[in-house]
């Protein structure tokens, strides 16, 4: 809708950009942005405006303010990965996906906050501090929360965004941008999407280029898309997907951008409910939302059946072995020699390397490097790495079997519960949290399948609960079609944020209806 508004001249790209920039300033307490590229953004907006005046916009994304997670390289704008290792690092090149957005005329507002090097499920472990979930400040949450005493104000009750793409999710959720890029390795786009009440799409591995995305696990990472509605995700996907010669893991097939039908007949669909996703720790609230969703499909005539993905329970351990092994490898390049932080210690190359890495990485990163190197040792390789690869194949085959048996889409919860307060979350360490939180999302990364979080309902505490759809490889069109239908049925409520209301304007009303 805002796209249409731009076209019709109801609002100009510079107005839109300025409004977003000032909203970013008033929501600074969310800590969603690491860097705001104000000047560059306004310049891009001006260019876009010129194109609209000539009647020649580049496409649906022209003039649309977007944000990008700070682990994507952006030329001329700092890329930090929320780590001391890359503080001050100004990349000389744009990631392919960033370049594609810019080529479509999108206005890049800035880089969003994350867990350091995308390791975490809370967006709490970066050097710039934790990201706050905008819903912490929503009327819906405040109405439902019971302050323990008068002295306790919203300051201590704020809830996490989930992670690791928490900054991007918060940015989209708080209306400071219309779409944001995240990354998804074990659920890092879908998890914060669920907690922040936005759409989070993890595309099929190999569909979107990873060139310029600073890798966590090369064989599982994908760029993720966060938007306020499913249609927007389809638009962004259309501008990003396709073969990139710079990324040898992207498929060569031509990708055809698609529009989603507004009316869908789900009675021909077969929806699978994997019983293993009724995981220990799943809140009864989410269980009930999941069951209601299944009924929704049933009542619409779809075939809803229970299926089994028997190797699900091994996926977390398998993921930890493969993830830390790749992390140990990928982080080997950070030695301070060519770029990034370099320690002052310089008695020898080795001591400089060691000091640089100790100073530059947080405990989470260092922990994974250590365990990863352990798994890759000659004497351990067979028992850990190779074994994990074999288990990974089994997990992927579980999905193949289920899809082959006639199931079109899987319906599962995205998270075990709604967002927890920050003070609760930090009681457990990063590794424990990741182990718990990744369980519902990470098998899709193992298998390379597309998956999407759709905001579904509010919990008793007034916080978003989302559900996840998992589809067949490269069948994003079907996945998003079903997701859109579901989105329409559940009519997830809009966040009521005072800061956003203050910026109210005719056009922002359009914004609030969420779509491009």
């Amino acid at each position: 809708q805002v796209s249409a508004a731009l076209k019709e001249g109801q609002v100009t790209p510079t107005e839109l950009c300025q409004r977003c920039l000032s909203l970013i300033k008033s929501t600074k307490f969310l800590n969603a942005y690491v860097t705001v590229a104000e000047e560059a953004a306004l310049k891009q907006a001006e260019e876009s405006e010129k194109r609209y005046r000539r009647g020649q916009p580049l496409g649906a994304l022209d003039g649309i303010p977007v944000a990008v997670k700070d682990n994507f390289n952006t030329a001329g704008i700092e890329t930090t990965c929320a780590s001391n290792m890359l503080k001050g690092f100004i990349s000389p090149y744009n990631a392919t996906v960033v370049q594609k957005l810019l080529d479509q005329g999108a206005v890049l507002l800035g880089k969003t906050n994350l867990d350091e090097f995308a390791m975490g499920s809370g967006s709490t472990d970066g050097v710039f501090g934790p990201v706050r979930n905008p819903w912490s400040y929503s009327r819906q949450y405040k109405e439902k929360s019971i302050p323990k005493s008068r002295s306790e104000d919203k300051e201590s009750h704020w809830v996490i965004t989930g992670g690791s793409s928490g900054g991007s999710a918060a940015a989209v959720s708080s209306f400071t941008c219309f779409a944001a890029l995240g990354s998804d390795t074990g659920g890092s786009t879908r998890n914060p999407a669920a907690h922040c009440g936005v759409v989070g799409l993890k595309p099929t591995y190999g569909l979107i280029s990873r060139h310029g995305l600073i890798p966590l696990v090369n064989s599982m990472d994908v760029p993720g898309i966060l938007t306020r509605c499913v249609d927007d995700a389809a638009v962004v996907l259309g501008s990003l997907a396709g073969h990139d010669p710079k990324d040898s893991t992207t498929v060569q097939d031509n990708f055809k951008p698609f529009e989603l039908p507004s009316v869908t007949d789900v009675s021909k669909l077969s929806i699978g409910i994997p019983k293993e996703y009724h995981a220990p720790g799943l809140s009864s609230e989410i269980l009930s939302v999941w069951a209601k969703a299944a009924d929704l499909f049933k009542n619409a005539g779809a075939k809803v059946i229970e299926v089994s993905l028997p190797h699900t329970r091994y996926s977390i351990v398998c993921y930890h072995v493969l993830c830390s092994a790749e992390v140990a490898s990928n982080m080997a390049r950070f030695d301070g020699l060519q770029y990034g932080h370099r320690s002052d210690v310089n008695e020898s190359t080795e001591s400089m390397y060691a000091a640089t890495r100790r100073e530059g990485f947080n405990d989470v990163v260092r922990g994974r490097i250590l365990s990863g190197n352990y798994f890759l040792l000659k004497q351990n390789y067979e028992n850990y790495f190779i074994k994990a690869q074999k288990v990974r194949r089994l997990i992927a085959n579980d999905f193949v079997k289920v899809f082959r048996s006639g199931v079109d889409i899987l319906l599962t919860p995205t998270t075990l519960s709604d967002a927890v307060p920050y003070v609760e979350f930090i009681k457990e360490d990063n590794r424990t949290r990741s182990t718990e939180d990744d369980i519902l999302t990470q098998a899709a990364n193992m298998a390379g399948l597309p998956a999407i979080n759709v905001p579904t309902a509010l919990s008793e505490r007034g916080l978003p609960v989302g559900l996840q759809f998992i589809g067949r490889s490269f069948q994003e069109k079907q996945l998003l079609t079903v997701a859109k239908w579901f989105e329409k049925q559940v009519k997830f409520p809009m966040i009521q944020l005072e800061e956003v209301r203050k910026h109210d304007h005719g056009v922002f009303q359009h914004q609030k209806s969420a779509s491009l």
């Binding site: 310029g212 600073i214 040898s248 490898s329 080997a332 390049r333 190359t349």
Partner: protein, 337 residues
């Protein structure tokens, strides 16, 4: 005493650009002027395989009578060093591009080149891998200068089985390989320009006994020094064992000034390289006339048969032709070629 000599030869591939990036390959360019983002290991950059390098390796494999693996894999070999920006080298440890070949070479049994004997050395494998950068240690200023121009240049590592027995055999075999590479054009193989580097594995044993402990000899800068270094090392080992000592499985450097080998302070030999598959490169699939799918773009695939048909005459073939056409003596054909 039976000396046993094997060789690991690194030949720089003659190509316009590097193995996984588009930066130029050129000798003696200004430091750090031929370095792409990928070569500098900037985070987020990915390797893209250079087709010409694959063709060079296939050509070389065919010329050495190897089996070309239609499917080969890339791996990461991890170690920390200033001239290895990524902290790992991309190589082919599990399944290299070519295996099980051989190289024939001829030795004169006397000084007058009147009697020639043909010997064969088995080629264990040929693998594609990245070259490292260069580091210069400036001890006076206690600093190390790093030049990454060479980082990422394509190498073919040719492994020769321990079928040789002395410096002369090794030197002749290397000269033979050099000539083949230059004839193919797959490498210019000039040792002085670092395009050909040879490491020797040397051990000795008594006839009938199992093979002795071997040492690796590095830092050999010419074929002449190669023969010298190997012969010195063989003698050193024999003397050591004769005196009741033992041979350590170590890496030794050849000191050309002193004409001897010395232990290297580098503990490179005992490192665990934590090999891991390179996740950013799919398996390398090569085709031949039979397996080539219909409607494939000729530019997108490497066809082994196509390369085989276009191989130039190898030196051994050329020599045979000279002997036949002009009736010269075989030993003279070696002088000519």
């Amino acid at each position: 005493w039976v000396p046993v000599v094997g060789l690991e030869i690194h030949a720089q591939i003659s190509s316009n650009s590097k193995l996984f990036s588009g930066s130029q390959v050129q000798f003696a360019a200004p430091p750090n002027s031929l370095v792409s983002f990928f070569d500098a290991s900037l985070p987020g950059t990915l390797p893209v395989l250079n087709r010409r390098c694959v063709e060079a390796a296939v050509m070389t494999g065919l010329a050495l009578s190897c089996s070309i693996n239609k499917k080969s894999l890339f791996d990461r070999k991890h170690y920390f060093y200033a001239d290895l920006p990524a902290g790992y080298q991309i190589t082919q440890q599990r399944v290299p591009i070519a295996v099980n070949g051989s190289l024939s070479y001829s030795l004169c049994t006397d000084n007058k080149m009147s009697q020639m004997v043909t010997k064969t050395v088995r080629i264990k494998q040929i693998q594609l891998e990245q070259d490292s950068g260069k580091s210069l240690h400036d001890d006076t200023r206690s600093q190390t200068l790093v030049d990454l121009n060479r980082a990422g240049v394509g190498l073919m590592e040719v492994v020769m089985e321990p079928d040789m027995c002395c410096g002369e055999e090794a030197a002749t075999a290397v000269r033979g390989l050099q000539l083949i590479l230059q004839t193919l054009g797959s490498s210019q193989a000039v040792m002085a320009e670092g395009q050909l580097r040879v490491d020797a594995n040397v051990s000795v044993h008594h006839p009938g006994d199992p093979y002795g402990v071997r040492t690796e000899v590095k830092n050999i800068n010419s074929i002449r020094f190669l023969a010298k270094a190997i012969d010195y090392e063989i003698q050193r080992q024999i003397e050591e064992l004769k005196n009741g000592g033992t041979i350590l499985n170590e890496t030794r450097a050849f000191d050309s000034k002193l004409g001897c080998t010395v232990p290297m302070r580098d503990k490179e030999g005992k490192q665990d390289y934590r090999f891991m598959p390179e996740p950013n490169l799919p398996p390398l699939i090569l085709y031949d006339a039979k397996s080539l799918p219909a409607n494939t773009n000729h530019q997108q695939v490497v066809n082994i048969d196509w390369i085989r048909e276009r191989l130039p005459d190898l030196p051994s073939v050329k020599r045979a032709k000279l002997v036949e056409q002009y009736g010269i003596l075989p030993e003279h054909s070696f002088t000519l070629l």
